[in-house]
């Protein structure tokens, strides 16, 4: 058994716990549990923030602030409630604040965002345009789309996070997709043709 195995096994003991159990441990000053929560939500929260604020650096700052607030307000979290919804609410509010404070909503760092796609089979131009169009979506549509497409959440989870009705969530996602499809028709046709 290697050190990595030992560590992963120890880590897995924590990762199998639910959000509620982890938060209970965080309230008891269990830092490892806090780390597990961070690892569990960091990716989806970052993408959410990135698509919401259109700025990679700002998204990182928001992600950092989200977990600081989670830890600071750990006593306020009520076990049994929706931790994912709570943490997304924090992120959502921070993103809204960031967008409100931002003077330039088009400062998206596309080169950084797509740096990992160089040489891939995807159409880089289409990806850049996609990011730009997502940023232009109305706030309510963009949030639903990001939660659905980027975080892979179910409609019910989106309902829980956003607090909107199921029909509203479905409509917003439908509209977001339709807008993107229309605005990106040139690129999608090329992609379809290839």
């Amino acid at each position: 058994m290697t050190l990595t195995d030992v560590f992963i096994r120890r880590q897995s003991d924590e990762t199998t716990l639910s959000d509620d159990e982890l938060m209970k441990r965080v309230r008891k000053e269990d830092r490892k549990a806090f780390r597990v929560l961070y690892d569990r939500y960091k990716t989806q929260l970052f993408i959410y923030c990135l698509r919401m604020v259109n700025d990679r650096d700002a998204a990182k700052d928001i992600l950092q602030e989200v977990f600081i607030r989670v830890h600071t307000n750990r006593e306020r979290f009520i076990p049994g409630t929706n931790f994912a919804g709570w943490v997304h609410t924090i992120a959502r509010n921070l993103c809204l604040n960031a967008r409100r404070d931002s003077k330039d909503h088009t400062s998206f760092d596309e080169s950084a965002a797509y740096s990992g796609m160089a040489g891939a089979d995807h159409d880089v131009a289409l990806q850049e345009q996609l990011a730009s169009e997502i940023a232009r979506l109305p706030e309510i549509y963009r949030e639903a789309l990001v939660l659905r497409e980027y975080e892979g959440r179910s409609y019910q989870e989106i309902v829980n996070i956003t607090g909107q009705a199921m029909s509203t969530v479905k409509f917003r996602i439908f509209k977001a997709r339709e807008i993107l499809r229309e605005r990106l028709s040139w690129g999608l046709d090329d992609l379809r043709g290839s």
Binding site: E29, K60, H71, L130, E149, L188
Partner: protein, 519 residues
């Protein structure tokens, strides 16, 4: 409705009936198929964008570092190990002290009558003894035995320069009645040469010199390996009628001056016996005497004075001279460096670590890690306390995030580093022979990344007066901790600052060698 159905199809929420209608519509309408393909293309573009938007490892580490305040960093062993790592070195030192006591007790037992000083400890400065001491003993001719008197006539005709020997006096007893039938009167007495004739041979069996043993020269002779109690009879000259005249004749010895040669080998034997504090009273066999007499490997001082017997004053001067190197001391230098107090400096190498643990410490077990030592030796050189500075190849484990698809897991990553290692050590040397000792050592130390404690056993041999070499094996345990998460969260005036550590330990075997210099 068509678009809504397609999206529901992608979401998996489209019923079978509506899915059938959708597929039928796609099959008959090129426009619907184009729209459907756009949906698929958009889904693909969104998926690709999702994958490309993940946090990089560096970004993740930076964010977590900002959250935790400290970040992922290695640290030394936690305070929880302090007690254990203090106790262990103390046990090593305690074991060394116990070993020292046991070792000294054992050596004292063998010291016999000579006193309590360990045999290998530095002996008091013994009077230097020349290679050859020829003591003329004046014996009245009337008291000379016929055989001795006959020897006197040929003494001057025999060269004594060719042999390397120590002159031992086979002389008459104090009463001057030495004769062939009185072998006990043939005494080996170089040291009491200045004493009056009647008491100069105190170890003569029939000697009337009760004061014989009080002669300083006797002690000196004993310390220098000259067996003052060895009489002619004990030397195997039990038949003076046959042995003594012959030997005396070969040496040209005469009436009160007889020479018994003792080769180097025998001198060493005698020296060792005296060092052990015992008087070797074993009589020499006639063959040994003959061999000794015929030995001629070194220049005899007899040649320097033309064969003239030394006067008692010369012998006394020789005995009292501190400038004359005794042949018996020729190997004392190696032993004295081993058994004397003082500073020692050393340079050594660890020839490799053989790690049996799943948690490696040495990244490259084939490299030789150098180190230097400085120590001070106490208790006759038996116990040493010192410090060691080395330069080692270490594999430092730290936690790094590793991406796996869209997510990342934290795992331990080894990072080879060359770092300095400092140790303190205590050791005990158990002499096993002249200039050679077994060294038992306990060490405790570490680096900025780890702590370690262990022990080693080595064999030390002094190849020169103050230069020694050692080679041995060692075993150590090491520990180090990794900060899995260190929280330093500050928000709205609240502050949480704590560190969570995870500790690891392992062990390794090592080979070591080095040289040392006794200052």
């Amino acid at each position: 409705m068509m678009t809504n159905d397609i999206q529901e199809l992608f979401d998996g929420s489209l019923t079978d009936e509506r899915a059938a209608e959708l597929f039928h519509g796609l099959s008959v309408s090129p426009e619907r198929r184009t729209d459907f393909q756009r949906h698929i293309a958009l889904q693909g573009a969104l998926r690709a964008d999702r994958l490309a938007s993940n946090l990089t490892n560096d970004e993740d580490a930076a964010i977590w570092g900002a959250i935790s305040g400290v970040g992922v960093a290695a640290s030394g062993a936690g305070s929880g190990y302090t007690i254990g790592w203090v106790v262990k070195p103390l046990l090593f030192v305690l074991a060394g002290v116990v070993g020292y006591i046991l070792g000294t007790t054992h050596l004292s037992t063998g010291s016999g009558d000579s006193g309590s000083a360990p045999a290998t400890a530095s002996a008091p400065a013994a009077p230097r003894l020349p290679l050859v001491a020829v003591v003329p003993v004046v014996v009245p001719p009337a008291q000379q035995s016929p055989a001795l008197a006959a020897n006197a006539g040929i003494r001057s005709n025999v060269s004594r320069n060719a042999s390397d020997h120590r002159a031992l006096n086979l002389a008459d007893a104090a009463d001057g009645t030495a004769s062939s039938d009185n072998p006990a009167a043939l005494t080996r007495r170089p040291a009491a040469a200045t004493a009056p004739a009647n008491s100069v041979f105190p170890n003569s069996v029939p000697a009337n010199g009760a004061s014989a043993n009080d002669a300083a020269g006797n002690d000196a002779a004993a310390r220098n390996g000259l067996n003052g109690s060895r009489t002619a009879a004990q030397n195997g000259l039990t038949d003076p009628a046959t042995n003594l005249p012959d030997h005396n004749s070969s040496l040209g010895l005469g009436s009160g001056v007889q020479h018994l040669e003792q080769p180097d080998a025998q001198r060493k034997d005698t020296s060792q016996a005296n060092e052990a504090g015992r008087i070797d009273a074993r009589p020499l066999t006639p063959e040994e005497v003959t061999r000794a007499l015929s030995s001629g490997n070194a220049q005899s001082p007899l040649g320097e004075n033309g064969g003239r017997p030394l006067t008692p004053e010369e012998v006394t001067r020789a005995l009292s001279s501190s400038n004359t190197q005794s042949p018996l001391d020729e190997n004392q230098g190696h032993a004295s460096a081993l058994t004397s107090n003082g500073f020692e400096v050393g340079f050594g190498h660890l020839l490799g670590r053989f790690n049996r643990s799943s948690i490696p410490l040495g990244s490259n077990t084939t490299l030789s890690d150098p180190h230097i030592d400085v120590s001070y030796r106490f208790f006759g050189g038996s116990v040493g306390l010192g410090a060691r500075l080395g330069f080692g190849n270490m594999l430092h484990q730290s936690m790094k995030p590793v991406s796996e698809g869209s997510s990342s897991v934290n795992t331990m990553v080894g990072e080879a580093k060359q770092i300095g290692v400092a140790e303190v050590y205590a050791n005990y040397r158990l002499p096993i022979s002249r200039g050679i000792a077994v060294n038992l050592e306990g060490t405790f130390g570490g680096s900025t990344m780890h702590t370690q404690a262990g022990g080693n056993v080595s064999l030390i041999g002094f190849v020169a007066d103050r230069i020694g070499v050692h080679v041995g094996v060692g075993y150590s345990q090491y520990r180090y901790g990794v900060s899995l998460s260190s929280i330093d969260l500050s928000h709205d005036g609240d502050r949480v600052d704590d560190t969570y550590k995870s500790a690891f330990k392992g062990d390794f075997f090592e080979l070591r060698w080095g040289v040392l210099f006794h200052l």
